[in-house]
Amino acid sequence: MAETKPKPKIKKEAIEMRKQDPKVRAKNFSEVALGYDEAEALEEASRCLQCVKPQCIVGCPVEVPIPTFIKCIREKRFAEGVVALKGKNALPAVCGRVCPQEEQCQEKCILGKIGQPVSIGRLERYLADWEREHGFQLPERAKPTGKKVAIVGAGPAGLTAAADLIKLGHEVTMFEALHIAGGVLVYGIPEFRLPKVIVQNEVNYIQKLGVDLRLGNLVGRIHTIPELMKEGGYDAVFIGSGAGLPQFLNIPGENLGGLYSANEFLIRVNLMKAYKFPEYDTPIRLGKHVVVIGGGNVAMDCARCSMRLGANVCLLYRRSRDELPARKEEIENAEEEGLVCKFLAAPLRFHGDEKGWVKSMDCIAMELCEPDAKGRRSVKPIPGSEFSMEVDTVIIAIGQTPNPIIQMTTEGLQVNPKHGTINVDENGKTSLEGVYAGGDVATGAATVISAMGAGKRAAKAMHEYLMNKK
């Protein structure tokens, strides 16, 4: 009998990432997850099997060469790892923190079949943070093509498209309506999940590549897209204006004080830094009993910000725990910090005090129906199950749709009339020649990484278009 080589022992368990203690972090806005140190990163990287046909790359919307950068970490060739990573992903410090890896690269990891998958997101974050500490290396740029590109919106889709297009040698101008670049990364995602200094670093990197960033410039009002192309001399335009229009419930009492759209609440807290009022000028008023309506990641962000501002928070969701659309990790984090969830209940109306502030809300219990053809379970109210809750603050986090300004001011741009999204093909091409779109403005509210993937695909298609254009 031939002697078999002893198989190397595979570590089934991933290296946990250290977090701030829930009791401590529920009172501050500092980052919750603390990241790996070098020893932890090396150990986690050593778990990667370096598959011949890596499935993790298939699971990544921007096709990051994951095994390559993990191998670099393992061999302590960090600078090379950064180059491999950034060749595909211009915003790794962001993605390492907010990507739903459990549904993407890590879901495909072969180790997941026998234990926990490799913590790809944590390793990505490690490399990106290593680069920030050791100084950015600028990649080589292709020879100038003489083509001019306008990017509308400095969010994840726009930043990605801008980085790719400038590396390909095009001249890139990025128009951002707000006074700070980053889009949802600065106005939506809270500091404790994604420190704003990290976003600013990624923006600085893109500016160092040569992108001309124009802040406070609302396309559609200052320049329309046809004007950019005709008078501005831009050969192509990418629209990544996001999904910034908040949805309301359309029930009585919604205009009372103390009722916020998730957008208003998050813009006050994150973009305007209302948690530092009066150092920062924009205030936020939050009572002691906050109800967040909704069950997505945005709802979790609102709930966790509210707890940090000292409130008791109850999440009201009309379906059950199993249907919560938020990332599992976010729900766990929120519950550790003190979130109370009330499932299978929906609001009916709000009541206010004499000064116009909300003081209570009427709700109704819901029950789940059988799953529909798509497998989604709808809900119906249970007659006679009305109940009241005392509240002093309500945050409505039931979704966002695209802002209509560009669609309104761009003649010939085909839009989905029901969702307000811009119609695009698989490469982000719109109905207008030379105009591309991607991210939430084309898909409706989705994730940061899917917007980045769309920016990347559009950049590739735009490059082809520009190089073939006479």
């Binding site: 309506a177 006074h179 406070g216 609302l218 229009l245 205009n255 759209s261 208003e264 305007m272 920062y280």
Partner: protein, 282 residues
């Protein structure tokens, strides 16, 4: 010249200031009825101010403000040659300017300045324009000369009767005597509410310019929501102009006051040098 540099500063009345700033991109696109968002610095708030003039050749745009809160008091300290951190605009839908016939333009307090921009545009469109300018007291009344120049007839009113008519009751008499085809009103909410109630009785279409609390000013946050004809509208993107006969003014008054305590605290902290923003007055 630097973008957002102050080109001219005029004190219209005590604490009522008119700025002309260099912002060629904004100037080219500005139209009556629109507004800009002004940010004073990194830690500053976003303050919406109605456009009250533009000069496309010079590349300037003008807005007026009343020094009432921290940011407007700070703006008031700026001098010609100083630069504002960021000005975003033009935002909101422009006014409907066309030939209506006889137009009544009512402006109150600092909003007289943007009202006159509309009055001039209405006159250029071939309308017969009557302006009414009003203020709390005689000393606070602004732009009387400009009102006379911009319109066929200008009428003055003050709350205390120290100059011109006392209050707005005279409007009823005026409307009994003269027939108007269109009315615009810009000013404090209570004034716009009163004007709308009076014109409604006479069936005169009335457009009011609302100035609810705003943050982004481009449809993202929804804090500027108002009820118009029973429907929720956003002041920033659906407005700022709405049918005065359909606006729920009482709700708007409550919503405008939501952050008064914080605004007062912040203003006082700034005055005494305790607000920690790094831009203390002291």
């Amino acid at each position: 010249m630097k973008t957002y540099e102050i080109v001219a500063k005029t004190e219209l009345a005590p604490k009522e200031i008119l700025f002309e700033i260099y912002a060629p991109d904004i100037a080219v696109k500005s139209l009556p009825g629109q507004f800009v968002i002004v940010i004073i610095g990194e830690k500053g708030e976003r303050v919406p101010l109605t456009i009250c003039g533009y000069d496309r050749k010079k590349g300037t745009v003008s807005f007026a403000f009343h020094e009432v809160g921290k940011t407007t008091k700070e703006l008031g300290l700026l001098k010609v040659g100083d630069r504002i951190a960021n000005v975003t605009g033009p935002l909101g839908k422009p006014s409907e300017i066309k030939k209506f016939g006889k137009v009544l333009c009512v402006g109150g307090s600092i909003m007289i300045a943007p009202m006159l921009l509309q009055a001039k545009a209405m006159k250029e469109a071939g309308n017969h324009v009557t302006t009414v300018i009003g203020a709390r007291i005689k000393e606070a009344l602004i732009m009387e000369k400009e009102a006379h120049a911009a319109s066929d007839k200008a009428i003055v009113a003050t709350d205390d009767g120290s100059q011109g008519h006392k209050g707005l009751d005279f409007l009823k008499e005026l409307l009994k005597k003269e027939k108007f085809d269109h009315c615009v009103a810009l000013g404090p909410v209570v004034m716009m509410k009163d004007v709308s109630e009076i014109t409604k009785a006479f069936g005169i279409p009335t457009i009011v310019t609302l100035t609810p609390i705003m943050i982004d000013g481009m449809g993202m946050c929804g804090v500027c929501r108002v009820t118009v004809g029973g429907k929720m509208m956003f002041g920033c993107v659906d407005g700022p102009e709405f049918d005065g006969h359909k606006v729920d003014f009482d709700e708007l008054i409550l919503r405008q006051r939501l952050y008064l305590p914080e605004e007062r605290v912040n203003s006082v902290l700034w005055e005494i040098g305790e607000c920690k923003c790094g831009r203390n007055k002291a």
